[in-house]
Subunit: 307 residues, 2 copies
């Protein structure tokens, strides 16, 4: 069976999870992919840091050049968070002829046009299925399965942290601060939850989905957004009495050929699929002109620290 040599750059929670999949479930992956994915290198910033994974001799390195300069490595999982050096490293990897897999949504929302243009001009690909909606394979669905459709709108609960907090407030009557603390205790929210609760994370994901669905690149900072951090449990209470739940909904809709985008807490009638999304789950409704509305609901990825 053909062997494809791969590398991982960045061994945080996601990188370590990917390495485990490759090492422990290599047989299954090979069976499904029709080729062996062979972990050749794993690049870390600090070699002395303790790891939760035992890697075979020779794989761990702190030199990204070991990947860039090795022509046998064809595919790189680029799993460094943040914008730099993630951007520069991704460009160098593309120039060295590697195909890229990444889960870094901030990088794609910020530098998507530059990175995808570079990849296209070099005949390389950037795969990013896990960047937007955790376990939901929404990228493949929009870019492949909906290809006979014009997407008319998409509506999503794209930030699991916010949804967990709203679910807590709804179910237990907790106020925002208490619900946030619980999310932090359970590892659903980071010490600094700003990007999650102010709608930035959802806006970045929406920008990526809108690009796939409608073709244009949108600056995520220009998407009007209201977060859940100014939110009172009283609002939740009234909504409930009226038969609604409040969800942080990111939406993109074609209206008279104009694309309207917004991220905001939204009343959703109970019994509608989006209203029933609880806890740290993601969900997306895509409306296509041929298939009507398709609703996807799934967990954030277990192996990741993403929301």
């Amino acid at each position: 069976m053909e062997k494809t040599r791969v590398a991982i750059v960045g061994m945080g929670t996601v990188g370590t999870g990917v390495a485990k999949l490759l090492l422990d479930h290599g047989d299954r992956t090979a069976r499904h992919a029709g080729r062996v994915l062979w972990l050749e290198k794993a690049v870390v910033a600090d070699l002395s840091k303790p790891r939760t994974i035992d890697l075979p001799e020779g794989i761990l390195t702190d030199r990204v050049e070991d990947v860039i300069e090795n022509p046998e490595i064809r595919v790189v999982a680029q799993l460094i968070g943040g914008l730099e050096p993630a951007r520069t490293i991704t460009l160098k990897l593309l120039e060295a002829g590697k195909d890229i897999v990444t889960a870094n949504k901030a990088l794609l929302a910020e530098h998507g046009p530059e990175l995808f243009d570079k990849a296209r001009s070099l005949g390389r690909s950037i795969a990013f299925e896990a960047a937007v909606a955790g376990g939901i394979p929404i990228i493949a669905n929009i870019s492949q399965c909906f290809s006979a459709n014009q997407v008319q709108s998409l509506l999503g609960i794209l930030n699991g942290t916010s949804n967990f907090i709203l679910s807590q407030m709804d179910e237990s009557g907790a106020d925002y601060e208490t619900a946030l603390q619980k999310a932090q205790q359970l590892g659903y929210a980071e010490a600094d939850p700003t990007m999650d609760v102010d709608g930035s994370d959802a806006a970045q994901k929406l920008a990526i989905l809108a690009h796939l669905s409608f073709g244009s690149w949108i600056n995520w900072r220009e998407i009007p957004k209201v977060g859940i951090n100014t939110f009172h449990s009283t609002d939740m209470h009234y909504a409930k009495q009226l038969g609604y739940r409040i969800k942080l909904v990111a939406s993109a809709t074609l209206i008279n050929d104009q694309l309207e985008l917004v991220v905001a807490p939204t009343l959703v009638k109970k019994g509608r699929p989006l209203a029933e999304v609880r806890g740290a789950y993601n969900a997306i409704t895509v409306v296509g002109d041929a298939v009507g509305d398709i609703f996807f609901h799934g967990q954030r990825l277990q192996l990741s620290s993403q929301t």
Copy 2:
């Protein structure tokens, strides 16, 4: 742009809908597919029957040989219902080097092993996305998007007619007969609804999904099934009081490496995604060991008479 000549065999509701898509939305399809899909022939049993579509001169024929003997036609949408002559024609088309697209789930559930073996031995493909769950692209999701997962179980509401009837009984308190009549009036149920309401249709679809998820071909007749046709609105009433809805659930679960399959009316707790599936919708939960549970919800295809 490259031109791929296609033919449609069988111009019922589905075939006519496909022809309209090809003729009216050819530009969009070409843009997405990267090639022009050119409708070359449409085969019908009776040329004199009135049609709801105006086809360009020379396309309509009652001779399937016009397709089989035309080497320029590469792809055939085989949309005849039932088992014969659908099976024989599909085999002949494969032998003539055509790739097949079909929505005939009964044919695949019954003769899948024979047809797929034939296709494989000839290097041809059989695509059948619309055969199982209407607008939900479940075939692509299981066969491609879940390829890094071992599917552990799948649970589906696969028959829109049954679900419409159960929703009617639940929402309006109607009895089974009244709900069935309403379904027939609205065109959700056929004059003879047996295959829908006795669980056969769901069992056929489950057999196809189980093949994709677990690899083995299952004779759909051997799947234990209970339909909704022996069902009382009293049962529904008690379920409701206890906080449940009753759904016709088709499930396939790996238990100690054994596959257990069943189609039966099932209590589903309110608020769980499957419980909230109303009307003539389909829904499927797939549990994979890497991504956890992913839930899909969508309409039966608008252009089809399928359920």
